[in-house]
Amino acid sequence: MTLVRSILLRREAGILVMIVLFCAAVGFYKPQFLTLQSLKIILLLTPLVMIGAMAQMLVLVARHVDLSIGSMLGFSAMVVGLMYREYPDIYWLLGFPVAIFTGAILGLGNGLLVTIFSLPSIIVTLGTLSLYRGLTFIISDARQINRSVIPTELKVMSRTSPIFDIPWIILIAFGIALMTFIIARHTQLGRQIYALGSNPEAAPLRGIDVTKVTLIVFTLAGALSGLAGILYASRWGFVNPSNTGAGFEFQVIAAVVIGGVSINGGIGTVMGTVLGVLLLGCVAAALPLLGIPGSTQNSIYGAVILIALLIDRSVRQGGIIKRSGAIE
């Protein structure tokens, strides 16, 4: 009984229940929602947000926030797109290290501004959100990278599959989630990130190099955004200086906050974040099926963030399940 109880009291159980209830409710009206086909649709909606959410989770756990993720995605995708356009004969896989490296540099820029000048990350990344977006326009001369430029091998990655009919792009996203899980749970760096976020004053007293950890977290967030950037080119087949990655940070923050990552730092799990991403994917997949126009999607994301914040608060104040007496 204690085992069941400890599982039910976990934050992840709440999100899982929400996913099941939501899918059951939608499936009740539209039975075709509960098929393998729609599961595939849900999964195809999520890979980019999944990778961005892993990045944002680490940043939030360290008690920071990164609003520039969407702009870093756009810039990295643009750099790769320009590379493919200028050097059509280049080996296509080279796009991956280039995108990840570009993103890492941008993320390092955020980290340096935050650590050197001890500025609040939210204002710095609000600035770089606009700065990196502007740079994307400048390097691309405000022109789009067209479908014909992106290598076919890259584009088919989001359709072809090495195993079980699951496309590459989804496997990569779950691979990143697994990597983040290992970093968070089984490395010294991961534990230091949690320690830093739980108590920034105590962390240096415990011998944690706060500057180093902060820099790594922001660089990692940039690198993952860069990876999401090249996968964007793979998924959609084009790179547009104004659309690519715009508003991406909001989806990511929504997913992460729903996943139970605390905005006060120190709390958050990969499992919860993955479930948060899946819940958003379910919502996005269910809307057209229920005949609700896509224009409502943003308001639903916003409402879901606010509700998740309130739930997060009540969990911190003694547990929502305990108080309602559902277990006792």
Binding site: L126, G127, I138, I253, I263, N264, T296, L306, L309
Partner: protein
């Protein structure tokens, strides 16, 4: 040795002359930048130093500048609000939608103002009553308000009747009405913040919340009041923007939160609260107009302007932090 050095600083302290004190104020930096901006821009184009041209350019951002004045007070009190731009868009959409449904203009204005107040109340409830960090709460409400505006207006633009269009062409003594409203708001809010008990209490809350509590200041009431005021003023600014543009879409002033925060930061408002003035934000609003019209006159791409705004925000916050760190000793 250490005794000697402390006495030395004590002796040095009164030696700071009035001009030195004035010089390390962040508003002075803003003012000097404003002068440099004017000189630089008039060098780029001889037509620039036309006062009517500058006034007309100012009407383009007057709405946001008015909101930035109230936002300055919110930041001084130790909170922040990133949602006013989305609030402007949603209030404007509600206004246009209500009057398109056949209601008289004054009723539509009232409904929109009430909606703005309600949005401010939601922010206040989440960040003051529920004690969640306002920075994350207002990211949530930013998405929520903008999303609701999209639900109301869809992807179309809603037109308003011709009689309502053109607040920016109404002239009083040769000055456009939005600029007059901006001046009036700056004077009123500057007086409230600088010369009233409430103003002093706002500074005190932002400087040290616990000390303010022990001094008997009801910080909850003041912060809730500031959020409500910000919501109301944002709605009014949204309606002004509709009157200027003649129609409204859900993406009205998209990304405007950056410019509003930038105005406050450029004016020397301290991001952690407790410091800043209305005068600073007032000057920064003019500085931004000079910079952006200067860039337009110089034929720079809008994308480069986006980059410049981002750089300006980071530089402004580094500079104010530096100045405050120097003067705080």
């Amino acid at each position: 040795m250490s005794d000697q050095s402390t006495t030395q600083t004590r002796e040095l302290a009164p030696a700071r002359s009035a001009w030195h004190v004035a010089l390390v104020r962040p508003e002075t930096m803003t003012f000097l930048l404003l002068i440099f901006g004017l000189i630089g821009a008039s060098y780029l184009s001889p037509f620039f130093l036309d006062i009517n041209y500058i006034l007309r350019s100012f009407t383009l951002t007057a709405e946001m500048s008015i909101v930035a004045l109230v936002l300055t007070m919110v930041i001084i009190s130790g909170e922040i609000d990133l949602s006013p731009a989305a609030n402007m868009a949603l209030s404007a959409c509600i206004f246009a939608w209500v009057q398109a449904a056949g209601a008289p203009i004054y009723l539509a204005v009232l409904v929109a103002l009430f909606a703005g107040l309600a949005m401010g109340a939601l922010n206040a409830f989440m960040s003051i009553r529920m004690q969640l960090p306002s920075i994350i709460v207002t990211i949530g409400t930013l998405i929520f308000f903008r999303g609701l505006a999209q639900v109301i207006a869809g992807d179309k633009s809603i037109r308003v009747p011709d009689s309502f269009i053109g607040i920016n062409t109404v002239m009083i003594a040769g000055i456009p009405l939005p600029v007059i409203i901006f001046f009036a708001m700056a004077i009123i809010l500057g007086f409230v913040l600088g010369a009233t008990i409430i103003g002093r209490q706002i500074y005190q809350i932002g400087t040290n919340k616990e000390a303010a509590l022990h001094a008997g200041i009801n910080s909850t009431r003041i912060k809730v009041g500031l959020f409500l005021l910000l919501g109301l003023v944002s709605a009014a600014a949204g309606i002004m923007a509709v009157s200027r543009l003649g129609s409204v879409r859900y993406d009205l002033v998209l990304g405007g939160e950056l410019q509003m925060v930038l105005m406050a930061m450029l004016g020397g408002t301290y991001i952690f609260g407790g410091r800043g003035t209305i005068l600073g934000t007032f000057l920064a609003a003019w500085l931004l107009v000079i910079v952006s019209t200067g860039m337009t006159v110089a034929n720079l791409l809008p994308a480069i302007q986006l980059t410049v705004l981002g750089i300006l925000l980071i530089v402004a916050i580094i500079a104010t932090n530096f100045i405050y760190a120097r003067t705080q000793r």
